[in-house]
Amino acid sequence: MFSGYDFDVIRRSLPYLFREGMTFTVTLTLMAMTGGIIFGTLLAMMRLSRFKVLGLVAGGYVNLMRSIPLVLVIFWFFFLVPYIGAWIIGADQPVAVGAFLSCVITFTMFEAAYYSEIMRAGIQSIPRGQVAAGQALGLNYWQSMGYIVLPQAFRNMLPVLLTQTIILFQDTSLVYVISVTDFLGAAAKIANRDYRLVEMYTFVAVVYFIICFSLSYLVKILQRRIAIVR
């Protein structure tokens, strides 16, 4: 049944797939997650701020990002960021940003919109009395947020944040549109070079499945542990 297929191509390309491709995918995921959560938390704080303008700006940004397909945002940033960079530093030539940095910026900006909705729910889940208690002790806004509200919001929302990160991990495969060698991109290159499309794409699917399924399982365990602590 499998005559005509050469599954050994997978074994031969493993070092390349993981050392080049998976490293890129994981690095991008981790960087975009970190940046996205930080930026997303700021957006959430803006949306909940008593200054209406901040709320409108953040709300507009989140809704914009959530209404545009990710592929489009990737393209858009890839071609636009060099010009924005030039505009910021005042150069007359587009700044060479590089595909990797462009990807990190894109995914951070895009995912921040989703993380911010999660963090907004998290912040709102903290009882008003907790903030009042912090204020009554003389803590200012940033101290109340930093020591009381955000740590609790973050802990309550950890399972959801991680689930979003699993989605981010899968979404990073879309960088193939700007010819970046992520895990999928690396496999695609081998597949085309050796004409082993079925073998390579099947393998990629299996790897994504195993990673994402185990991570989801871990999130479930974590969810149960948090529920006990609370």
Partner: protein, 242 residues
């Protein structure tokens, strides 16, 4: 020390505080009582600016709370507050709860803060629980931690917003005992409470509120002996006869 000058507050068109004027002198214990929804909690929260008000002013230690640009954080650091639902920070241990504002607001070193906190925990009988988290303590223990947290700031006055009304009956006394001790030491206290036994024991004055108004503001003996207003009489007969 604390003076209310014709304080009025509205939620939209609904007036929750009507021209409230009263005072708490240094070393005095003033108990505020009244039916639910009468504005007691709102009144006490005006003292440290947790509830903004539209008219009148509150003067604390000759500083205005209502003035635009009042330094509320500095004022709040000097006034301890204990809440109905304790509001300990659940993600921090007991000792961290006590240390947080001491280090972040007063700028005490960690060692200094820990020393102070440990002494206060000992005082409320909870030194053995310093490393536990609030969720591992009973309601009464949590409220005692909350009192210690307020005292850790060396406050000039303490505010209590229904400190025992969320507690199981058997835990009320352990909290009241701490409060009585505080009162005997001369702490300035404003207490919103229905615990008339506590009021009889330590209050200098009792304020009775109804529908946002201060209906009665009298010395303890006057209030319990012969309340002037009918509303206070009705309220007292309701809560004392069972």
């Amino acid at each position: 020390m604390i003076e209310f000058k014709k304080v009025s507050k509205w939620y939209g068109s609904f007036q929750v505080l009507k021209d409230c004027s009263t005072y708490v002198d240094k070393g005095q214990v003033v108990v505020v009582c009244g039916p639910s929804g009468s504005g007691k909690s709102t009144l006490i929260k005006c003292v440290n600016g947790l509830e903004p008000f539209q008219e009148g002013d509150v003067i604390v230690n000759s500083e205005s709370v209502g003035r635009a640009g009042a330094n509320l954080n500095r004022l709040r650091a000097k006034i301890g507050m204990v809440f109905q639902h304790f509001e300990l920070f659940p993600h921090m241990s007991v000792i961290q709860n006590l240390n947080l504002a001491q280090t972040k607001v007063l700028g005490r070193s960690r060692e200094e803060a820990t020393e102070k906190s440990t002494a206060l925990l000992k005082r409320v009988g909870l030194q053995a629980h310093a490393q536990k988290f609030p969720g591992q303590l009973s309601g009464g223990q949590q409220q005692r931690v909350a009192i210690a947290r307020g005292l850790a700031m060396d406050p000039i006055a303490m505010l209590f917003d229904e400190p025992t009304s969320a507690l199981d009956p058997e835990m009320i006394n352990e909290v009241l005992d701490v409060m009585v001790e505080l009162a005997h030491e001369g702490m300035t206290m404003m207490v919103v409470s229905h615990e008339m036994g506590f009021a009889r024991k330590v209050a200098h004055r009792v304020i009775f509120m109804d529908q946002g108004e201060i209906v009665e503001d009298a010395s303890k003996d006057e209030f319990f002996g012969s309340p002037r207003s009918e509303r206070a009489q009705v309220f007292l007969s309701k809560i004392l006869h069972h």
